[in-house]
Symmetry: C2
Subunit: 188 residues, 2 copies
């Protein structure tokens, strides 16, 4: 006989996602989430530091993927090329769960608090990219700037990929945005 149902963390996350989608983030209480998962408020805060953090526990894996890809990029690749490879790897990752990404983004877009959290996660990704580039020998401020610019491209591409009805691969948008960036900086 098991004392507790397994995977409390997963059940909490699922309950939270469902409730945030049904009622909105602001109008759902942690007690509600815990109750739907058959657990206690206190236990929720043992698994997630925050009411918001439930929606962002994939960020760590994403960051590791980005870093690994940048470090593993061919030595001949320029900083921006290495960063682009990382974005494309991320694009593939998201591509496998488009429905989930859309639902999650709807929830985030409806709450300022969640947008703040998303932005700091993105900033953390930018910093991780920059740090990985430095390991490749890229100097500052080029490393930092490339990280920021790459994340900007990711934001815009992800946004379009989520909004459009039948967008195909997200990486198409990534490459397109890169082209536009070249246009923007070259135009004099």
């Amino acid at each position: 006989m098991v004392r507790w149902e397994p995977d409390s963390r997963g059940r909490l996350a699922q309950a939270a996602m469902a409730l945030y989608g049904e009622q909105g983030f602001d109008r759902t209480t942690v007690a509600e989430i815990a109750e739907r998962a058959g657990l206690t408020e206190r236990t929720f805060f043992r698994h997630f530091t925050d009411k918001r953090e439930v929606l962002f526990w994939g960020a760590q894996a994403l960051q590791e993927l980005l870093v690994k890809t940048v470090i593993g990029a061919p030595a001949s690749a320029t900083p921006l090329e290495a960063a682009t490879l990382a974005l494309e790897a991320a694009g593939d990752l998201f591509g496998q769960r488009r429905e989930f990404s859309i639902q999650r983004q709807h929830i985030i877009d409806a709450s300022t608090e969640l947008q703040e959290r998303e932005l700091i996660k993105l900033a953390s990704l930018a910093e991780a990219l920059a740090s990985a580039l430095r390991e490749r020998g890229v100097k500052d401020p080029t490393a930092g700037l490339t990280g920021e610019v790459a994340i900007a491209i990711f934001k815009i591409s992800f946004d379009r990929w989520v909004s459009e009805p039948d967008p195909g691969e997200m990486n198409t948008f990534v490459r397109e945005s890169l082209e536009q960036l070249r246009g923007i900086t070259a135009a004099q």
Copy 2:
């Protein structure tokens, strides 16, 4: 005889800055701030929506400056040139209060919550820039991308300008970062 001391808002802001600097953001309570300003907690929340918002009430003016500058830029200016003019105007604004900027940034850098708030303010600036560019006839996604990239440059430049001992004009960093951006995107 006056019923209340004038400029409660200013007194609250000043008390908050001082306490955040002395004890850190997390360890100061709104009640403390109000007390030091000779007011009540309730009154604090009539002037600021948030405990964090005290540090960001200049953001509105900054945003208006950026928008005005982009719209007023010569018709011949490219999107990035127009955005750059706005950044330079902002640079001049900050240049007049470097000490204040440094102290404020120290406070923000010591608190994750405040960093989140800062990031969403910056995102709002990026969107305002994009929207001003659209008014100049710039299409999306160029407008959005230019807004994001401009803010990325601002972040990096501001960061360097605040960190270095005797940096001179912030706009030097802005122009330098722009040059580096061209290098990054051009390198193939």
